[in-house]
């Protein structure tokens, strides 16, 4: 099936088996291997990308469902010369060990900070009708869909907190 997806600002047209997930389209067809395949079942978050600015698990979505969508992967966040504030903060805070979950953590954090900025409630928000505070507890809860086998969680929270302050 002919499918056109704008990936990191560039329109890409692919002819895909309908079974192809968005994750496999990115990795196998467009050779954008920054987005990682961890569990392939939506449990680990390594495949997180932004679709029209919203974070999703690219492994649980068919590429053909994204015809006309705008996808941002870790390759679209920053460049080695000009890092995204979150990428810089992950380096500063040493927020990874093996690095396999990091692209998903970064894309998830970008989406999560927009959600927090927009005032979306979370499970730890004391009053769902009130504006949530950008606390460490909120960051931890909102990032629970991203697993880090190396357990860099304290540094990941610190990096997100730092990046949020830089970006504000």
């Amino acid at each position: 099936m002919k499918t056109t997806i704008t990936v990191n600002g560039e329109a890409r047209t692919l002819d895909l088996d309908p079974r192809t997930t968005l994750l496999d389209a990115l990795r196998e067809h467009l050779r954008l291997t920054g987005t990682k395949k961890g569990c392939d079942h939506g449990q680990c978050g390594a495949c997180t990308v932004l679709v029209n600015g919203v974070r999703i698990n690219s492994c649980l979505s068919l590429a053909v469902m994204h015809d006309g969508d705008e996808v941002t992967t870790v390759e679209g966040l920053g460049t080695p010369e000009r890092l995204h504030p979150l990428q810089q903060a992950f380096l500063t805070e040493d927020a990874f060990q093996c690095g396999y979950c990091t692209p998903g953590q970064l894309c998830s954090a970008v989406g999560m900070l927009s959600e927090l900025e927009a005032g979306l409630p979370s499970h730890v928000t004391p009053d769902v009708a009130a504006r949530p505070e950008p606390s460490d507890e909120e960051i931890r809860e909102r990032m629970s869909g991203n697993i880090c086998r190396c357990s860099a969680y304290p540094q990941i929270v610190a990096a997100i907190r730092r990046a949020r302050e830089v970006m504000a």
Binding site: M65, S122, V128, E141
Partner: protein, 315 residues
């Protein structure tokens, strides 16, 4: 994944018509549960009808003071809606207690209601499961059944419905709107959508073939406090061992049955002046343990009583 053909539905009528005319067709909206199961070849649709872009994602005020939530509205969108957060806090609380941020961004309202159980034997294709393969038997009865149901079970199935959202909606007395391939629309209580397992646990709802959920309608918020509480093995991103939604005088339980469980006996007991503890005892009088899940009876009694008490002090 087994091969399938794919089409994007242009309007709801075309979607239900295609579903009725195409053998092995299934609707796909967010896809977060269906694609997971298709990868495991537990779901094997021959044809997918993508309903995700149908104009059914709006959340509108209903004329009676209630709220009409389009079936394609994402879980995140519903939880973020100001009217939901202010007038139906139990629903926002239930939604954000389920899944992860990424999944809630993709999962639809209709799809959440129709998600399949997370019973480990439903997922393990090397073990018998009446839900996956009718007549095969149920490995959970004698197996690892810590997460299994305690209410409304049968000899064929002790699986639980995993939704948090649906539990709050049942406590809110929500109704579902559907469209059938005949073109006929109908509206009925959400409480009547899901079935108990009986001898046919593979038939999970009262929807007719090809019938599409188009909306969930909430009546005006009830008088009294609202609260959703959930007990689970991890602090986040885990399904409920037991959950309780209270909306005024109405109570629903999650993680304990094949469907979101409306606690009518507890409601009646409370209305007659019983204490929250007595009300939960009344509801759980018929609860049955499968072995490892016996703790759920005590857990649900305590969680239910505590939630009823706490909700009383809330708006």
């Amino acid at each position: 994944m087994r091969p399938f053909t794919y089409e994007r539905a242009s309007d709801p009528q075309a979607a239900v018509k295609a579903a009725a005319e195409t053998p092995g067709a299934k609707f796909i909206a967010g896809g977060t549960n269906l694609l997971d199961l298709m990868k495991l070849e537990i779901e094997r649709p021959a044809h997918l009808i993508d309903v995700g872009r149908l104009p059914l994602a709006g959340i509108e005020d209903a004329p009676d003071g209630g709220l009409r939530i389009g079936a394609m509205a994402s879980n995140s969108k519903v939880a973020a809606d100001r009217r939901v957060r202010e007038r139906y806090p139990v629903l926002a609380q239930a939604i954000v207690s389920g899944a992860s941020g990424q999944l809630r961004n993709k999962a639809s309202t209709g799809g959440n209601l129709l998600q399949r159980t997370r019973c480990p034997y439903f997922y393990d294709t090397t073990k018998p499961c009446n839900k996956r393969e009718p007549g095969a038997g149920c490995a959970a009865l004698e197996g690892l059944n810590r997460e299994a149901a305690i209410l409304g079970t049968s000899f064929a199935c002790i699986a639980v419905h995993p939704s948090d959202m649906a539990v709050a909606m049942v406590a809110l007395d929500a109704e579902v709107e559907t469209l059938a391939p005949s073109g006929q629309a109908r509206r009925f209580p959400l409480m009547e959508l899901h079935r108990l397992p009986g001898e046919t646990p593979h038939i999970e709802t009262h929807l007719t073939p090809g019938e599409l959920i188009t909306a969930v309608v909430l009546p005006p918020p009830p008088e009294g406090g609202q609260l959703y509480r959930k007990a689970r093995d991890r602090a986040s991103y885990a399904t409920a061992l037991s959950s309780v939604a209270v909306a005024g005088g109405r109570i629903a339980l999650g993680g304990v049955a094949h469907k979101p469980w409306r606690a009518v006996n507890a409601e009646a007991a409370l209305a007659q002046g019983a204490s929250p503890q007595e009300a939960m005892q009344a509801e759980l009088a018929d609860a049955v343990s499968a072995g490892e899940n016996e703790f759920k009876i005590t857990l649900t009694a305590r969680l239910g009583a505590a939630t009823i008490e706490q909700a009383g002090g809330r708006r």
